[in-house]
Amino acid sequence: MHQESAIRPPLILGHKTYGDITADVSAPIENKAPTAWYVLITIAAIIALYGVACILYLFSKGIGVWGLNKTINWAWDITNFVWWVGIGHAGTLISAVLLLFRQKWRMAVNRSAEAMTIFAVIMAAVFPMIHMGRIWLAYFVFPLPNQFGSLWVNFNSALLWDVFAISTYFSVSLVYWYIGLIPDFATLRDRVKKKWQKNLYTLLSFGWTGNAKAWQRFEEVSLVLAGLATPLVFSVHSVVSMDFATSLVPGWHSTIYPPYFVAGAIFSGFAMVQTLLLIMRKAMKLEAYVTRKHVEYMNIVIMVTGGIVAVAYATEFFMGWYSGVEYEYYTYMSMGAATGQYAWAFWALIICNNLIPGLLWFKKIRTSFFWAWAISIVINVGMWFERFDIIVLCLHRDYMPSGWTMFYPSWVDVGTFLGTIGIFFTLYLLFARYFPVLALNELKSILKSSGESYKGDVLPKSQH
């Protein structure tokens, strides 16, 4: 059934008891927030408000206020959309795919990664909606007969597949996350002293009892939802990639896109998890739960998916050159891109996504908290450039040289993007303050089964 390795360090360090786990995770909720939290959330909220102002300005004027032109008619908007959806892949991958593979180290990471996923997908959904220009017609994406007769939405279109994929992914991830949260809210409900907190967590915990039948159902639901969410994770970014792959633009029209986009999404999603988790680990004193081993495992996933992405780049570059088609000379992976006016964007992508993450192959670097964090930020930047390159570089050399142009973002482009980062961090900081940031019930279940037979002398043998 379950074989314990003698050389694998325990997943939870120190001599923790069940009560200690509850106390450690509840501490930030019960205590006063540190000043740094107030400073950070103020900054995040100001940036968020600026983004909201930009979006309202956009609604009043139309999307002409973006830097788009006739040749480059998709740019930062769709770049940001794909970037955020990609980031939103890590949470469900960690909690669903790693659950199916029985990877117990996921339990210290999954709660915050899922929260990150949900906030990232909300940010992603903002962009296609505001990109419509007339947001009040957003209901046109639903299969409703329009007012001119019975003309329906087009189920042949990748853009409509996207509507279904993103909305399904978002709602299923939300439900999956919340079902896992219910027992932990119940823990807080039975623990907090302040009246408003008691009321809040009573409401949020839905009257959870924790009896044997409830736990049996809980485990069944977790398993089946994981089974459903796993193909969902892979389908969502496949569908996003089909927005490009089913078009006829050179560089976009490529059968490699779905697997390549999924690998890229996991790559960027894990990077964002690292970025947030390593800060949270220090700020919320979770060193015993998020250990060096967790960071190394995550970095290994980053290395594998980064490797897949690198192979995809090489394939695209080679096939573009080998086809001998002149239009392929200016796709995002081509000699034209590497030497042309957008060479800086091309090399930013290669350096941030291939060269610097390559350092993770050194064990010293991938087990270092600082370097893991620094590299994760570089990957976030690199993956933004990947989407920017795919969209703008493939478009900027149109079929006729008279249409050749460059893209310059307007202040609204920049403000909207920064604004979504602000909203994302505001939501994440609220989550870190008021929600149990580790999956309490799951961590308690591995407390005694992890590392009992550990023979290493670096760490004390966990007590029975």
Partner: protein
Amino acid sequence: MANKVIYAVYEDPELLKDAARKLVTAGVHVRDVFSPFPVHGIDPIIGLKRTRLGIVSFMFGIMGLSLALLGTWYMMIYDWPMNIGGKPNQFYYQNVPAFVPVLFEFTVLCAAHGMAITYLIRNKTLPGMPARNPDPRTTDDKFIIELRTEDNHGHAPEAITGMLRDTAVLEINERHY
């Protein structure tokens, strides 16, 4: 004789399982077990049947797939066929490959949400429900066996508490109701 409910508190899931096994072997009916996390292996001991939620999910999935098939057929083939990029719209089977993403997503949507809603209703965990666990410590670090005298007419309450004292019990609480 007034009905009594006995709560035996344990500190470890393994100790609780040993105790439950002992009680059940002696013919005592265990009403329920409360724990802060799933106690693996307790279900067969106290005689819980496997949940049928997986089947529920499958049925909702089938329902979602059927609805999606019907909807895409009605909208794209029957009601208002459109020639889009030369994709065949005469017969459903010719056009269905283009609908696969939507069919899949809608199946998952219905299966996941149908199951989640059924789960919440069956567990009676819904917004606004009050806390119903017997002891607030069961969501922290204590494990409780619930026994009722009305389930165990063959045993005197004293005999049951005596049996519990022989296990690694932390405390025994009794409540009349």
